[in-house]
């Protein structure tokens, strides 16, 4: 039986009607209509579906939409300011961090969350933080360079 709920996504409240077992990813893509977040593995291995839930990254394919009611959801669509890309998004373009683009929304979300909790990550910090996000095109180098480009240099350890 479908349940009515309100999801706040990128600052806007959307009324939705979903089954109890509907994932946050399916609700945001199919009910809200924001298709930036991708379904890759559908079981939390690949990170393509990653969103922020109250600022913390979540694999939205494996999180129940109804549990997100009352929380603030941020998707890749919420990172840009209108048509102005965030510095991280711009860096992804400049450093060749995007090829097919399928992993990019999750990578951007994961990296945004990393920079939020650690504004000056080392290369190793970036690689570990992005290990939950799989990319089959770039070999990760461009992605890691892009994240490091917007982070002030970490103090030497």
């Amino acid at each position: 039986m479908k349940v009515a709920a309100t999801l706040r996504v990128n600052g806007i409240a959307y009324p939705v009607e979903v089954e109890p077992g509907t994932s946050l990813l399916a609700a945001v893509r199919d009910e809200v209509g924001l298709t930036g977040s991708k379904e890759g593995c559908d079981d939390s291995e690949c990170g393509a579906c990653m969103m922020l839930l109250d600022g913390r990254p979540v694999n939205s394919c494996s999180y129940l939409a109804l549990q997100a009611e009352g929380s603030e959801v941020t998707t890749v669509e919420g990172l840009a300011d209108g048509r102005d890309l965030s510095p991280l998004q711009t860096a992804f373009l400049e450093h060749g961090g995007v090829q097919c683009g399928f992993c990019t929304p999750g990578m951007l979300i994961s990296a945004t969350a990393l920079l939020e909790r650690n504004p000056s990550p080392s290369e190793d910090d970036v690689r570990i933080a992005l290990s939950g996000n799989l990319c089959r095109c770039t070999g990760y180098d461009g992605i890691v360079k892009a994240v490091l480009a917007v982070a002030p240099a970490a103090p030497p350890t």
Partner: protein, 295 residues
């Protein structure tokens, strides 16, 4: 299917009494359903907004961790890192950062995977869980009595794990949890080992060793403990204890490793865990997580 969100323990217990199953971070339950392990329960009660189940309280009598305490909170809590270090080692490597901020200690325990990270440390640190049920029922169970088999616990379906308590460790105690892993995030222990050792002077006065992903449940390895206790904690004793831990294991072959490989690695991983625990007991700083330390 039905779904309700509880905001108090009483609400949650009433839902469980009516046949609902609890969901907190969903990092086992929902992922398991996606993987086809088991369908989602017909009736769910979300407990992630029950405030009284959240947070870590430190006291002279030890530490109390609410069922909703996330792995991220555990791994960064100064008391856990200082005095219950094996638990910090474990929580720091669960899943990815996304898993650690949503996945809970209560869920990790009640999912009862033989490969779970927190079970070995909690068992060796003498932790207990407190289970509540409707009508005022409360009981406290040692973590070592909680696991009945792969994915199954000794808790009844109408019981909710409300908190975990860990007594303060003896002076000069060091602990560590180490796992064999193939990937730096989103990994499940191929094999794992926990060691908690106490020193009196240069003698090991007490040793607790548990093995992970090497038996149908996480379990202590008594033979390994007696090989280490009373010794000087030197190379010979550590090697004997590690061999005994491997001998106590009854691993399976699956997609991640063969039975033979697991058995061989059990000794290596147990040796590393014991080594780090002894180093910490001697006051050496070994950073969390111990699994990232390469000998």
């Amino acid at each position: 299917m039905s779904f309700a969100t509880a905001t108090t323990v009483e609400d949650a217990l009433a839902a469980l009494a009516g046949g609902a199953r609890p969901v907190a971070g969903g990092t086992d339950l929902v992922v398991g359903a996606r993987q086809g392990k088991a369908p989602l329960p017909e009736s769910l009660v979300a407990i992630h907004r029950v405030a009284e189940l959240a947070g870590i309280t430190a006291a002279d009598e030890g530490l109390r961790l609410g069922a909703l305490t996330s792995h991220a909170e555990i791994a960064s809590h100064p008391d856990v890192v200082d005095s219950y270090t094996a638990l910090a080692d474990a929580s720091a490597i669960v899943g990815s950062h996304a898993t650690r901020v949503h996945g809970t200690l209560g869920g990790n325990l009640m999912n009862a995977s033989p490969a779970m990270e927190t079970g070995g440390p909690l068992m060796c640190l003498d932790a207990t869980v407190t289970l509540r049920s409707g009508g005022g029922g409360t009981r406290t169970v040692a973590v070592s009595d909680l696991f009945a088999g792969p994915g199954s616990t000794t808790a009844r379906d109408d019981e909710l794990l409300v908190y975990v308590e860990i007594p303060p460790p003896a002076p000069c105690t060091g602990s560590a949890y180490v796992r064999l892993e193939y990937r730096r995030q989103m990994e499940i222990a191929v094999v794992g080992a926990t060691a908690v050792v106490a020193l009196e002077g240069s003698t090991v006065s007490d040793a607790r060793i548990a093995i992970t992903a090497l038996a149908p449940t996480i379990r202590r390895a008594a033979e390994a403990e007696s090989a280490l206790a009373g010794s000087d904690g030197g190379e010979t004793a550590v090697a004997a204890a590690a061999r005994a831990a491997a001998a106590a294991s009854t691993p399976i072959s699956d997609v991640r490793a063969s039975e033979r490989y697991r058995r061989a690695m059990a000794e290596v991983i147990a040796r590393r865990a014991i080594g780090v625990a002894l180093a910490r007991a001697r006051g050496e700083a070994v950073p969390v997580p111990a699994s990232a330390v390469r000998p």
